[in-house]
């Protein structure tokens, strides 16, 4: 297994409130889940998406753990319906953003501290 070193750089807790205003056109869906999977905030997301995000994040984290790749940072999914970015914050919350195909995922990663 790959050795997991202590986490050196913490993920920033992102001000999605401000981000949602600035990037509303690029991010049509914003979802924030609590550590238990409950919906803390939802803009354009339904409960079905919340369940998908919670399960996808759990499976991705598990797959990484099995391969010795803890800690999970983020997951970028390219779907038939568009792109979905899921990431963990240090407070244990999970954020999911649907990203329009025209939007730059790289600049979003940089703003979120995921680059």
């Amino acid at each position: 297994m790959l050795q997991s070193k202590p986490r050196a750089v913490a993920n920033p807790v992102v001000d999605t409130q401000a981000m949602s205003r600035a990037d509303a056109s690029d991010l049509p869906v914003l979802l924030r889940l609590g550590p238990g999977g409950g919906i803390l905030r939802s803009e354009g997301a339904d409960e079905e998406l919340a369940a998908v995000v919670a399960n996808a994040r759990r499976l991705g984290r598990l797959a990484g753990q099995l391969l010795g790749m803890d800690p999970f940072v983020a997951m970028e999914c390219t779907l038939a319906s568009g792109r979905l970015l899921i990431y963990d914050e240090d407070n244990g919350e999970t954020v999911a953003l649907r990203v329009r195909n025209e939007a730059s995922l790289q600049s979003l990663r940089e703003r979120l501290g995921l680059a």
């Binding site: 790959l2 997991s4 998406l49 499976l59 991705g60 598990l62 990484g64 997951m75 999914c77």
Partner: protein
């Protein structure tokens, strides 16, 4: 005209070896429907049982999106030092493990090319039962379960 004498697994593995030409790729593996590992090109520290368990989770990841009528075209799982690039195929998935920085457009292109190459080879064997290795930990654990139920 040349005749392919290698087994499908050997052909798939040859494609995985070619992936290592891309800077940052530590290795890769392919799992079939159900998650069992068909071919791998990874250091021995990754045992087949662990890869199969990870493969099962990644297969479920595909199914999670399929269950709501969506289709996963690719996924990048980012961990602190590593990434897992998952390229779903019609009969399984190609998983690529990267370390440090990797050129993502190159990785995507390489995954697409290898995916196209291995899909016709993987299709006929995707539903075959996994090969039984007498030294595998999977078999050892099955034997323990049998003994636990007093079955000889």
């Amino acid at each position: 005209m040349t005749t392919e004498t290698r087994t499908p697994r050997e052909q798939i593995r040859a494609s995985l070896i070619a992936l290592k030409d891309v800077y940052g790729i530590a290795g890769s593996f392919v799992f079939a429907r159900g998650g069992y590992v068909v071919a791998r090109e990874l250091p021995p520290m990754f045992d087949d049982l662990t890869l199969a368990e990870a493969g099962t989770r990644l297969a479920l990841l595909q199914e999670t999106f399929a269950a709501v009528g969506d289709r996963l075209d690719s996924a990048v799982l980012r961990f602190r030092d590593h990434r897992i690039y998952v390229k779903p195929l019609s009969c399984g998935a190609l998983c690529i493990i990267t370390v440090g920085s990797v050129n993502m457009p190159v990785l995507r292109m390489a995954a697409n090319l290898v995916g196209h190459r291995i899909t016709p080879v993987l299709e006929p064997i995707a539903d075959d039962p996994p090969p039984v290795d007498p030294t595998s930990p999977q078999l050892a654990s099955a034997t323990r379960r049998l003994r636990g139920r007093n079955v000889d």
